[in-house]
Amino acid sequence: MPFIPHTDSDIESMLATIGATSVDALFDEIPQSLRVAGLEGIPLGLSEMEIGRLMSERARVDGRPLSFLGAGAYEHHIPSAVWAITTRGEYYSAYTPYQAEASQGTLQMIYEYQTMISSLTGMQVSNASLYDGGSAVAEAALMAVRAHRKSKSLRVIIPTTVNPNYRRVAESTAGNQGLRFETVPCERTAGVIDFAALQAFAGEDIAALVIQQPNFFGQLEDIDRLTDWAHEAGMLVIAVVNPTSLALLKPPGEWGERGVDICVGEGQPLGVPLSSGGPYFGFMTTRLEYVRSMPGRIVGRTVDLEGRTGYTLTLQAREQHIRRGKATSNICTNQGLLMTAATIYMSLLGPQGLAAVAETSLARTSELVSALSVLPGMRVAFEGPRFHEAVLVLDRPVAAVLTELERHGILGGVDLSVDYPELGQALLVCATETKTSADITRYASALGHALKAVRAA
């Protein structure tokens, strides 16, 4: 029997110990009328060899196209050591480190993670991760409302330059608790928050402003001015950032005069494979004064009975298993394994390596934009500084061009025409350090053909 070790004689002697006549007799408290007859909809079991073959065939169907997709999930090189260590059974098959004495490995790793991510974001404290970037934004909005000492407002400003999926997750998660999200449009020249529109909120009672940097279009916001304006208006500031970019860009802890109050983001770029959207992890850091309002697990360093350094979960009284209906969140799972991968990734790259990844991605995107925007019918949507993504506008339907590119084995970018119809036929492209000059040339050449094909049609 797969994964069940019992021999016939084991079963017999165990039943004798219990005093039961059969295994089925152990279900005698369940009403007979409720018993399952059969599970005809489930196929018969497969051996490891058979499932291996099936999965390899399905994987082959999906292939490995050349991808210029970004929009919140980024293809980066993952050092071999990262997953070789992360999938060790001692990490992979351990539980949440509630029994601290038997979980020092996981606990110390989390402490090291908290240190790295706090420093990267320029904040004082970090939790041990949340589900993903989208749910981290939702949790940050809830936390801001909870932590704001001077305002009881349930309103949070989340501009359209924030990832639309993050906005949707925030709405479906926090809307149930009465939070109201206000939007601010982007201005069309630089593709950043329309500051004049934002200023219309001055004088209103609002809990927080969300700022994404680089924003969803890859453009860089004027974070100092925005942060200071929001603080002046009595709001907390929530930063949503790409961790790779922070090797180059100003950390949220240093934005404006005082720095932001809560910082969140998608941790996937730090050593986590794209894997169709998950599992990823969301990170969250904050000021020390808000630590008790933060959701999720937190690890602290302390000493044992003999004075030796050790690590343990701390501030647990915030959490659902103790506070039940009054907890800061219902979250109990974090994304421990992904955080393990990220900690190893950051350790291997170090400050120089991460900066090299960020700089190379920046340069490749610049190269990509130059190569694509010179093609007839293509133009760059926004001026101003950007990181490793850019919006291009086409003079013909994006969807049709992307389908044409697929025929060349290229995923050319994300069609923005559904979420941002005001931008026209807009395409979001991304190049990370994984793209070579040859890849970019190949894309430009295929796009040239695709543009002709779509026009012809």
């Binding site: 000492r149 008790r292 701390t314 647990q316 009284a317 915030r318 103790i322 506070r323 009054k326």
Partner: protein, 131 residues
Amino acid sequence: MSQVPAELKYAKSHEWVRVLSDGRVEIGITDHAQSALGDLVFVDIPEVGRELAAGEACAVVESVKAASDVYTPIAGRVVESNAELATAPEQVNQDCYGSGWLLRLEPASADELAGLLSAEAYTELLAAQGN
């Protein structure tokens, strides 16, 4: 056996109330409550000026194994909070009826005090709960 000073009034939810000479009242948690919680690591006290209804949750006392709401036994406006507890929550464990007080209220009405438990009645309550 936990201490129950005779001169104080008590609530079933294990808070004590002391009437000060100026008519204001001081509120804290009882010896039984602090001992059941264990070593406190954090106390969240209300802001001065807040209006509280009787029975409203007004503070949180947190140990490593539990976090409990503290309910004000009577209505009133918060006139003072024990700021020292922010850095020294252990004072609640060490001296819950003295330096471990949580907040002081300007009571909305003096009548509510009569509805609280006497030391004797509170001792009986503890005994009935098996303490």
